[in-house]
């Protein structure tokens, strides 16, 4: 009983911090989404409870749909296909190289990690400088090869920001996979080899089931981080051209801090929260232990 009390006392500071830094602001955000809260104009002087009005408006707003579809493209493209798969492949290759003592593995590890160590805003500006039509590194390089300049951000804006985000975020998945791979007992691989399992089957029937929990946590983490990605896109395209790279996080920012409509902006944030929850539930179900 004393031990239980001690444990409760131990987690109290964490509960306190979580309540004040996460739970209360989230509740406040949900509450705001039902109001006309604004920082400018008539609405700023006439605070009202609107009920579901913001949400009804949101579902009629074509900019919301565009941002929603962009967000799905961005999350699936950069988090799931890009960061997750690429991170996995790099981790498997480095793990293999470590086991076989292949030289140069540390360099690959370092290069991938460098992208992650870089602050997001700096990474955004770097990619912006790479993609720039007039002075960009990519076009200068194409010039050297005698190839015509490409308007990267004009003709393939979403792909451009996805590539930048994959470059930036792959290291995280790679790190998680690398450390997780080390927890798989080597004897299992040895035994399966004797049973005649090939590399794919060893991965499918030994690695994945053992690392199921870690995969779930990693997927939830990168999905949430990508869903909320703001700085990178902001620095590269500011959401343009038009709304072509405006994801929900940029749409929420523009609404809340450029149009100063906090209530409407909060409604967008609540929708983002729901989408994150849906993704989370899907991942947990997908990798639930059978």
């Amino acid at each position: 009983m004393r031990r239980r009390k001690f444990l409760i006392l131990g987690i109290l500071p964490a509960i306190f911090l979580m309540t004040f830094l996460f739970v209360l602001p989230s509740l406040w955000g949900i509450y705001s989404s039902f109001t006309n809260m604004a920082l400018l104009g008539k609405e700023a002087a006439n605070f009202r409870f609107l009920g579901l009005e913001n949400y009804i408006k949101l579902f009629k707003d074509s900019s919301f749909y565009t941002s929603f579809v962009n967000t799905i493209y961005f999350v699936v493209g950069s988090a799931l296909i890009g960061q997750f798969l690429l991170g996995l492949i790099i981790a498997l290759l480095i793990d293999y190289a470590e086991k076989k003592k292949i030289p140069g593995r540390g360099i690959v590890y370092g290069i991938v990690l460098l992208a992650w160590i870089n602050p997001t805003l700096i990474a955004g500006f770097q990619w912006s400088a790479m993609y720039d039509y007039y002075y960009g590194t990519l076009n200068k390089f194409l010039n050297l090869l005698g190839i015509q300049k490409i308007n990267w951000l004009g003709t393939m804006p979403m792909l451009s920001v996805i590539v930048a985000n994959i470059w930036r975020g792959t290291a995280f998945t790679m790190l998680i996979w690398l450390s997780a791979l080390k927890t798989v007992p080597l004897e299992l691989y040895e035994a399966s080899k004797i049973d005649g399992a090939n590399a794919f089957n060893r991965f499918r029937y030994i690695t994945v089931p053992i690392l199921r929990d870690i995969i779930t946590v990693n997927l939830i983490q990168i999905t949430m981080a990508t869903m909320g990605a703001f700085l990178l896109i902001w620095a590269i395209t500011s959401g343009g051209p038009g709304l072509k790279t405006t994801t929900l996080s940029l749409f929420a920012y523009r609404t809340a801090f450029e149009a100063y409509r906090l209530g409407y902006g909060s409604a967008i944030a609540v929708i983002m929260l729901i989408i994150n929850l849906v993704f989370g539930i899907i991942y947990i179900r997908l990798f639930r232990r059978r």
Partner: protein
């Protein structure tokens, strides 16, 4: 008695607090954004005069070296937290929204008694009146020019004393440059979200005024969408961006297209650009007045078919008194000391803008600068930026609409339909005709 003795320390503390609060001097807080470093010495001069006149008042002046948009967010959050400064400095177009939000005090009572108010022309006085009251005093006005590179025009065999005969002439001139001068961007007009305020006041609005269109009906207090006028504007965008490919798509994708395009015109890599009058000063600082006068020409924006020629005027940035100020009289004393004849002239010489005070324009050092003289002269042909509540929402919708056409995502008709739909969603009733 014992109880009374116990209360004594409490009474003592209370007395101390009362003494302290009554002895505390009055503080007037002044906030303003400034990245370029032009304003500080003039603000300091006004502050110095204020401190001489009111030695017992504590004047706290804070300069924020951040972009004006970030300053606005900071200010609005301070207002929301009931910690607004007494005096602050923001764009004139924001006035209606600040009035509607109840953030600023009217200056009417001060202005009618102020000797110098007579030096301001009626057009300016009208521009700062909203719902029957004056709310601010502009000091440096905004005008816009259609800038062009004389050296590029010469290379293309075009006359350097250019006065476009209408919109088609702008497009044809740019097309001629495109076909005859390689490695030069023929023309830039801002569009899309990336162009921010430039898309509205340097792109959409001058075109809309060029077909006698209006954006807001003051009488009914509603936004107006004149479909034929907006359609003509969008057709122009389509021709410039898509059909003739005169304006590069990068205008829609660069994070701050105006920075790049101003640099490009200054460096002779862009031929035609409709931009703010204040941009000229940046070129002069970088390339020298003589060089700029030789290479950069400026002309008024034509209407669709030529005359009338006009500029888009704006109130620039102005000082306001917060409605949270407990000492508005003292706040006014500061504003008054900034808007003197000398300060208004000098600040606008350093950061070239036409002056709002007519007597400032008469000072010889102001009169002697040709560019400023020209800027002040065209005020008579100025059509002012729309001043309306919800202007930022309107601006955002305009950015989306122009961006959709300029990127080729939608036809002008589709973009216009979308614009009407979105404006109705944002403002409820909108006059569509």
């Amino acid at each position: 008695m014992k109880k009374l003795l116990r209360l004594l320390p409490l009474l003592f503390i209370l007395l101390l607090l009362i003494t302290y609060s009554s002895a505390k001097p009055i503080t007037i807080k002044v906030w303003y954004p400034d990245e370029l470093g032009v304003k500080p010495k003039y603000v300091d001069k006004a502050a110095e005069d204020f401190r001489k006149a009111f030695p017992n008042v504590n004047l706290e002046v804070t300069r924020y070296k951040i972009p004006s948009g970030d300053f606005l967010t900071k200010l609005l959050l301070a207002i929301d937290a009931k910690e607004a400064p007494d005096v602050f400095h923001i764009g004139g177009t924001l006035m209606p929204e600040f009035v509607d939000a109840g953030y600023i005090r009217p200056l009417t009572a001060y202005l009618v008694k102020w000797e110098d108010w007579k030096h301001y022309p009626k057009s300016i006085k009208d521009a700062v009146r909203y719902k029957g009251h004056y709310y601010t005093i502009p000091y440096g006005l905004d005008v816009r020019w259609l800038y062009y590179r004389k050296d590029i025009f010469e290379k293309a065999g075009l006359p350097v004393d250019w006065k476009p005969k209408g919109w088609d002439d702008i497009l044809n001139t740019a097309l001629k440059i495109k076909n005859s001068v390689p490695n030069v961007i023929p023309y830039v007009i801002y569009a899309g979200v990336a162009g921010a305020g430039g898309t509205v006041n340097h792109g959409y609005v001058p075109l809309l005024y060029g077909v006698k269109g209006v954006a807001y009906d003051v009488k009914s207090g509603k936004y107006v969408i004149e479909t034929s006028a907006v359609k003509k504007v969008l057709d122009f965008y389509k021709k410039a961006f898509i059909d003739l490919k005169l304006v590069p798509q990068e205008v829609l994708t660069l994070p701050k297209p105006w920075t790049t395009m101003r640099e490009k015109l200054g460096a002779g890599e862009l031929a035609i650009l409709f931009e703010g009058g204040w941009v000229y000063g940046g070129w002069v600082t970088r390339y020298g007045l003589e060089n700029v006068e030789k290479t950069i020409g400026y002309t008024l924006m034509p209407s669709e078919k030529g005359a009338p020629y006009f500029t888009v005027g704006g109130l620039g940035t102005c000082w306001y008194i917060s409605s949270q100020s407990k000492n508005p009289d003292l706040a006014w004393e500061f504003i008054k000391r900034f808007n003197t004849r000398e300060i208004v002239a000098k600040i606008n010489i350093e950061d070239p803008h036409p002056v709002a005070r007519l007597d400032s324009a008469e000072l010889p050092e102001f009169k002697g600068i040709k560019y400023l003289y020209d800027c002040t002269q065209i005020l008579a042909q100025a059509k002012f930026e729309p001043m309306a509540p919800g202007i930022s929402k309107f601006g955002n919708r305009v950015q989306l609409m122009t961006g959709r056409v300029a990127s080729g995502e939608m036809s002008p008709d589709e973009a216009l339909r979308k614009f009407i739909e979105e404006m109705r969603m944002d403002f409820g009733e909108v006059i569509v005709k």
